[in-house]
């Protein structure tokens, strides 16, 4: 049996090509359906499947009014702005705190170090639901009275993201040569200087990896935004959930709305996925 060879000399595998094509299509078609539907008129979308428009693109009614309707009519624009304001600080601030902690866990020796680190690892598994009622009391009218504001959500995302951030950065930092830090110490650098001048710049790949994950998690979060943001501060994901809840009218806005919520994380994901994959695999794959 003669099999053709690929450029790199490996034999072509028809079985893999066929199966992977099917799987990749299965994974893409649902999203494609959403994208196509979002550009169809309400009547078209209600009376024929999206694939008919795709097979007959010139006979179908295409429109962008769903997007303008969702953006202004369903007020996704304010949700979009809120999402940006929530997500960027909630991504950047935990990294600052976690990076110092990760440095200490990697390059310093101190009593109870293992205990504290095991605590971090244990807390990574604890469901965040434990925090809701106590934090509603602390941040709500019975406590600080800041529930409903951005700050409440920044605080919560910072706390919830912290364990994974410390863990990821520490895993990465422990692959850096210890000799670099030790020679800096001999040269008279304080730990603070060593951190800023050496370790933080060298950890950029891991920081980028965590930042991507945390940004996606904060942007895509429904639970915390719904519980801790008042309606004029709420995120685009909560707005989409409310659209999904209102059956009947506005169905044509739904698909466009869903795509509006997807577009930012998609861009972040595509641009930074190389870092993210490297960070994920260096952190988790050890054997």
């Amino acid at each position: 049996m003669s099999r053709s060879l690929m450029k790199d000399g490996r034999p072509r595998s028809p079985f893999s090509i066929v199966t992977m094509t099917i799987l990749a299509l299965l994974w893409t078609i649902p999203t494609l359906g959403l994208l196509v539907t979002s550009f169809r008129t309400r009547d078209d979308a209600a009376t024929s499947g999206w694939w008919t428009a795709l097979f007959n693109p010139f006979g179908a009614d295409w429109t962008t009014s769903n997007y303008s309707g969702a953006w202004t009519g369903a007020d996704l624009s304010s949700g979009f702005v809120n999402s940006i304001i929530v997500a960027i600080p909630a991504t950047v601030i935990p990294i600052m705190f976690a990076a110092f902690a990760a440095y200490a866990f990697t390059f310093m020796d101190f009593p109870f170090k293992e205990f504290f680190f095991l605590l971090i690892i244990a807390v990574m598994v604890v469901p965040i639901q434990v925090a809701f009622q106590p934090m509603l009391n602390i941040l709500g009218p019975r406590g600080l009275g800041i529930s409903g504001q951005y700050i409440a959500v920044w605080l919560l995302h910072t706390g919830f993201g912290m364990p994974l951030c410390i863990y990821t950065l520490r895993n990465y930092m422990s692959t850096l040569p210890r000799s670099v830090v030790e020679s800096a110490k001999i040269d008279g650098c304080s730990h603070f200087q060593t951190f800023w001048r050496l370790v933080a710049p060298m950890s950029i790949p891991a920081i980028a990896a965590f930042a991507t994950l945390q940004f996606l998690w904060v942007w895509n979060d429904l639970l915390i935004a719904k519980l801790f943001l008042k309606s004029e501060n709420t995120t685009v994901i909560v707005k989409l959930q409310q659209l999904l809840g209102s059956q009947g009218q506005g169905q044509e806005l739904l698909t466009a709305g869903a795509f509006i919520t997807i577009i930012v994380p998609m861009i972040v994901f595509v641009t930074l996925q190389r870092y993210m994959i490297r960070g994920m695999t260096s952190g988790a794959v050890k054997g």
């Binding site: 499947g49 101190f110 598994v125 925090a131 951005y150 895509n220 994901i237 994920m280 988790a284 054997g287």
Partner: protein, 385 residues
């Protein structure tokens, strides 16, 4: 990087040579500036951030608040550590060496303590209290939830999710990773990105996507949902898929959404593990006459077992807390409820904090073995480092 440090080194040495023991003694000025600086930073940040909350109108518009928050958050954290470091350096050498690690981990740990550790105990405490956590009611909440059929149905559904989703995610991840590895470089890249892309989509967005797939139109009308279009094409009657409780079909259709979201994550980790399998072990098996299938089961799988377990546990934890998908699609109707959704409805819609926290305690008990596993796994890993 190294050139940079060696250039900076002589300057540092010169300074210390003036008084070689300076850094060994207490330096009250540094301690003073450090303490005052830390207090000022914390006070300033606390006031600024509270002002964001109480008087958002002071700042004009939302973008100003957002940008100020980033600058103040990052700059404030840097300043805080700067003063903390100065304070610790002012201490006599031996004391400062001992204190500085705690100074570095303390801010992070305090946040974890406030946001996760303290609430864990407070939640256990509240689970013995009434609906607004103002008076103790003993075991009443537990009696109520254990006596409700909704709770037990959610437990059964959660177990089903846990049995099906992590296993299928890992299976899909392995299949995609193995098959993609046999494609050409471009083919592999394209196929993997297509499977990976849903990872960027929120559970709410994914639900919107799949609600379109599961959409129902009355018989006789053209079906706009892909599943019903295929089903009627095969000669069936259109179905309201998410209302079909038989054999838990609706729950399984919701699980498909999560599997679709998570498979890419599994694939990425497993793919990198498979690429790490030494080629000569595969080659040796091939020379011994093993078929591709045998090589897969007896050579590749044993060598990526560690990664398989890691992925399984990670997905397992995600599934245990599954909420958004169920909340958005059925909100637990038609027998699809799960624990996290039940919790949310008790807390948010019913304002029953006592019962809600009791449900979380059940969830907490369920994760104890996982905590034990994570800690053990970490220790093994450190031992092998």
């Amino acid at each position: 990087m190294t050139a940079d440090t060696s250039a900076a080194a002589p300057r540092q040495r010169l300074r210390t040579e003036d008084d070689p023991d300076a850094h060994l003694r207490t330096n009250p000025i540094k301690i003073g500036i450090g303490i005052v600086g830390m207090i000022a930073v914390i006070w300033g940040l606390a006031n600024l951030f509270l002002a964001f909350g109480y008087y958002p109108e002071w700042f004009g518009n939302k973008f100003v608040i957002g940008i100020l928050a980033i600058v103040a958050g990052v700059g404030g954290a840097a300043l805080l550590f700067y003063f903390l470091n100065m304070f610790v350096e002012g201490l006599p050498r031996r004391l400062s060496e001992g204190v500085i690690p705690y100074a570095f981990i303390l801010p992070g740990l305090l946040l974890v303590g406030l946001m996760l550790i303290y609430p864990t105990f407070q939640t256990i405490n509240y689970s013995f209290a009434n609906a607004d956590s103002t008076a103790y009611v003993g075991l009443q909440n537990y009696k109520t939830i254990f006596g409700s059929s909704e709770f037990w149905q959610s437990i059964v559904n959660n177990i089903l999710w846990l049995l099906i989703v992590p296993a299928l995610v890992v299976a899909f991840g392995v299949i995609v990773a193995v098959l993609a590895d046999k494609l050409s470089a471009t083919g592999e890249k394209v196929a993997k990105s297509m499977v990976f892309l849903p990872m960027a989509i929120s559970a709410v967005g994914a639900s919107a996507i799949w609600l379109l797939v599961y959409a129902y139109n009355n018989p006789g009308q053209p079906q706009t949902g892909l599943l019903n279009a295929i089903w009627t094409g095969l000669g069936g009657d259109p179905q309201t898929w998410l209302a079909i409780d038989t054999l838990k079909l609706n729950s399984i259709l919701l699980m498909v959404i999560l599997i679709w979201l998570q498979a890419g994550f599994a694939m990425v980790l497993l793919s990198s593990a498979i690429k790490g399998v030494p080629e000569d072990t595969v080659e040796a098996a091939r020379i011994d006459g093993a078929g591709e299938f045998q090589i897969f089961w007896q050579v590749i799988i044993p060598q990526i077992k560690g990664t398989i377990i890691t992925v399984f546990v990670t997905v397992f934890i995600t599934v245990l807390k599954v909420f958004d998908i169920v909340y958005v699609t059925t909100n637990g109707a038609y027998g699809t409820n799960v624990i996290a959704n039940l919790f949310f409805n008790k807390l948010f819609a019913a304002s029953e904090a006592g019962q809600a926290t009791a449900i979380v305690v059940v969830l907490l008990i369920a994760v104890i073995p996982l905590i034990w596993y994570q800690v053990k796994h970490f220790r093994d890993e450190e031992a092998g480092r």
